[in-house]
Amino acid sequence: MTAALERIVGRAHVLQGRADLLPFESDGLTHFRQQPRAVVLPGTTEEVAEVVRWCVATGTPFVPRGAGTGLSGGALPCATGIVIELARLNRILEVRPRDRLAKVECGVINAELSTAVRPLGLHYAPDPSSQTACTLGGNVAENSGGPHTMKYGTTTDHIVGLRVVLPDGTITELGGPLHDLPGLDLVGTFVGSEGTFGIATELWVRLTPNPAVIRTFLFAFRDLEQACRMVSRIVADGILPAALEMLDQTTIRVVEASVLKAGYPVDADAVLLVELDGIAAQVEEDARKVRAIAGEFGAFESREAATAEERLKLWKGRKGAFGALGRLSPDLYVQDAVVPRSRLPEVLRRVRAIATEENLILSNVFHAGDGNLHPNISYDGRDPDHVARVLRAGDKILATCLEVGGSLSGEHGIGMEKRDSMSRLFSADDLDRFAQVRRAFNPLGLCNPDKVLPGAKVCVEFRHGIAIEGVTH
């Protein structure tokens, strides 16, 4: 098997030693683990296509992978298959500043594109918290969001064209360096397909002009629910902040104990970060309103980042919070769900009650403006009872979110983690439609099998020997 793959990508770029395969067994979600038979690291689109054709010829399942920062197990390998690791496809191919477009390979790291175009006064707007590590190809797969999704939209709003290796190994172009092409929106269909429709190797992305003015505020509250109410009020008053981000007390404290030290007040029950951007007069007006609202809702500290460094620190704390939570326990379960913004106070109260009930350490750090919750549970995966309680709590939290009219996932995707919960949100008919679309792209089912849609067989071992409820194996 490996001889053929080595001929395509070169010997150095096929991994099959047991120590090399071991760390590929999980992505950012370590609850699942499964080693692949081999990992292939192609260096060009043509090599990707050849590897895929080999997979088709031999009936080998394949899983595309970027930086492995995903949190829903989307890059979890298949036991009988290979992983196609795309990190070497990391070139920025073309920048058209006047068209505000760039063509990049899929392995380019999100933040590095923004760094590269900064001298042109541009940036790439979607900014997931893992943006210093995650790849743009991975962002396309997951339709990633981020704090600035509030104003600027998610990945799908910023992709205009894709060069795709389809699951049969042919190379095709979807869309292109033009906005709003006629015909079916296949780019929109592909973005968010979680690696099940093929492998996007080159992307045409929109670049966004850097705003003239950016102002970032910190508001600290004694009560998380009050902070949530302030969020609803800001939106209700017609203000459109660039970002509205919430951190609860547990998160604040671990961030302050880490290298990130953002300067959040450790005695607060919640910190709300509000970023306003645009032209000076508008931002000034919004800032005045937001400050007044904060006073009304009882913020005990209101502060504006005085310098660019201070602003960066406030953001670094927010974006590194997930990693910082590693200080609390060996493992971390990151939940991702969306609820209507107005229901945030109630949902958070219920989520806290669930954690208390199961005797678990809970932390909340989330995109409040979008109602996109991330309740995180710290646990020790070596303790089966602990794991069982975490999974039960995770399930109850999800049920609560769905009950108030929310959704399964805001930005982390369905992947392997929530595959079997899909039927709680969608009818059998809906799921069947989804499967039909997928079959149109991926008729043999070799491309990232078993993910997103329920019903397929599972080719994965559960790390703790306990399956998430509803998963058969």
Binding site: G17, D20, P23, L41, A133, V259, G323, D331, L332
Partner: protein, 438 residues
């Protein structure tokens, strides 16, 4: 590996939540795109060793050897994983298993346990290498194809073998150097083992600049080796033995121990950890470590006596990993350089990324080492400096070898050497103007 160390490794590995933020700053991950060559992948492997999911064996320790231990991952880790410590413990564990071939292990042990502790033997080794390099023996061996017989063939053949200064240049620094001008205190100074033989100029300048700033400098005549190399390369026992010698050489006291080699300074600041489980030495090592201060850190904190000599130069500062990442000192050396009249610091991307020297990495992993050096040179070319400055002997030698190819005519100096030049130039022009006035 002791039981408590195994537990420690286990606990350290558990700090990692697998977020992956370390990947983009890891030089070996950037070269390969391979998760197994990333900090997160290596932590995963080390945890597997500690939990006995996988045993250290010839086919599983490759990435343990290929890690630079540059610790760039620690600087970005939100979870505070002590990666360097984990890797040191793991390498020590690996050395004790059959995974490590007998010959390589014996050579390393010989060097760490029987050469490094004796300055005279280090000197003999340096002389031998100088003879090999300069006498034509290298040329002869190369012609005869005999070099292939040696394990470290690339190094022996290649430019990475540093030029070794003639014996005459390697003058022992005096045991005590008096302060110049207004006295501001007394400090101990680590002369070091290899640095003294290969880069005597950097030590001389470090001492001179301290004296210029009003500090009397004391150098123990036994010239101990701090043990950084064995602790990075899997021989913690040898490291402890050298550390004990070092602690004893400086004696009890409260005066600062100033170190101008980033790798040594980093190891010495971590002595407390090295002896954490040794009841006899734990306290003493901790006390000593608290006295250790990096040369740049020390002078920047004390306030520099302004150098007067103008040096119109564009200077690129290549940050040693063991200064920027292991000791988190980045602003201090830059502020010292900026204090020199006429010097312009030219920033370049990758200035805090490993140059591939990494202790003995250029000997053990010459291919990756040369790739990293090549990258560094490309980035430096973009900045087009007149001079490259660094603050660690390994980086110094590596950058010098790279620059001799890629940036001919561009000299590599220690921060102290450039400062000393400015002080000297200042003194000369001061003398000249003084003469005129009188």
């Amino acid at each position: 590996m002791d039981a408590h160390e195994k537990i420690l490794l286990d606990q350290r590995a558990l700090d990692c939540v697998h977020c992956g933020l370390c990947l983009p700053v890891c030089p070996t991950y950037r070269l390969t795109g391979n998760e197994a060559a990333s900090p997160r992948g290596r932590i995963y492997l080390m945890r597997a060793f500690a939990e006995k999911r996988m045993e250290p064996a010839v086919d599983t320790i490759g990435e343990v050897d290929k890690c630079l231990v540059c610790r760039a991952c620690e600087t970005v880790c939100p979870s505070g994983v002590q990666f360097g410590e984990m890797m040191e413990l793991t390498r020590d564990l690996v050395e004790a298993t059959p995974a490590r071939g007998g010959f390589a292990r014996r050579v390393k042990r010989l060097f760490f346990r029987h050469v490094l502790p004796h300055p005279a033997r280090v000197r003999w080794l340096a002389l031998l290498l100088r003879f090999y390099r300069e006498s034509g023996l290298r040329f002869l061996l190369q012609k005869l194809g005999l070099i292939e017989l040696f394990g470290a063939k690339t190094v022996l053949r290649d430019r990475l073998l540093p030029a070794i200064p003639p014996l005459a240049e390697r003058v022992e620094p005096p045991e005590r150097t008096a302060a110049l001008g207004q006295p501001r205190g007394e400090v101990g100074f680590l002369v070091g083992c290899v640095a003294h033989e290969l880069l005597p100029g950097a030590n001389r300048a470090s001492i001179a600049v301290l004296a210029e700033n009003g500090f009397a400098v004391r150098c123990p005549t036994s010239r101990p080796c701090c043990g950084a190399l064995p602790s990075h390369f899997g021989d913690l026992e040898a490291a402890r033995s050298l550390a004990r010698q070092t602690i004893e050489a400086f004696g009890e006291g409260s005066d600062p121990v100033v170190v101008s080699s980033a790798g040594c300074g980093s190891a010495m600041k971590e002595y407390g950890r090295l002896f954490a489980h040794d009841p006899q030495w734990a306290e003493r090592a901790k006390r000593f470590a608290a006295r250790v201060v990096d040369w740049n850190e020390f002078l920047a904190a004390k306030g520099l006596v302004a150098p007067q000599g103008r040096l119109d130069l564009k200077v690129a500062y290549s940050e040693p990993c063991h200064l920027a990442h292991a000791q988190r000192i980045s602003a201090a050396p830059k502020s010292l350089l900026a204090a020199i009249p006429g010097v312009t610091l030219v920033p370049f991307s990758g200035s805090d990324t490993c140059c591939g020297a990494a202790g003995l990495y250029n000997v053990t992993q010459p291919e990756q080492s040369l790739q990293l050096l090549g990258q560094k040179m490309e980035q430096l070319k973009g900045a087009a400096p007149d001079l490259i400055v660094t603050a660690n002997p390994g980086c110094h030698l590596q950058l010098r070898s790279g620059a001799s190819d890629a940036l001919p005519g561009v000299e590599v100096l220690h921060v102290a050497e450039l400062l000393e030049r400015s002080y000297r130039a200042g003194a000369k022009s001061g003398d000249a103007s003084g003469a005129k006035a009188s």
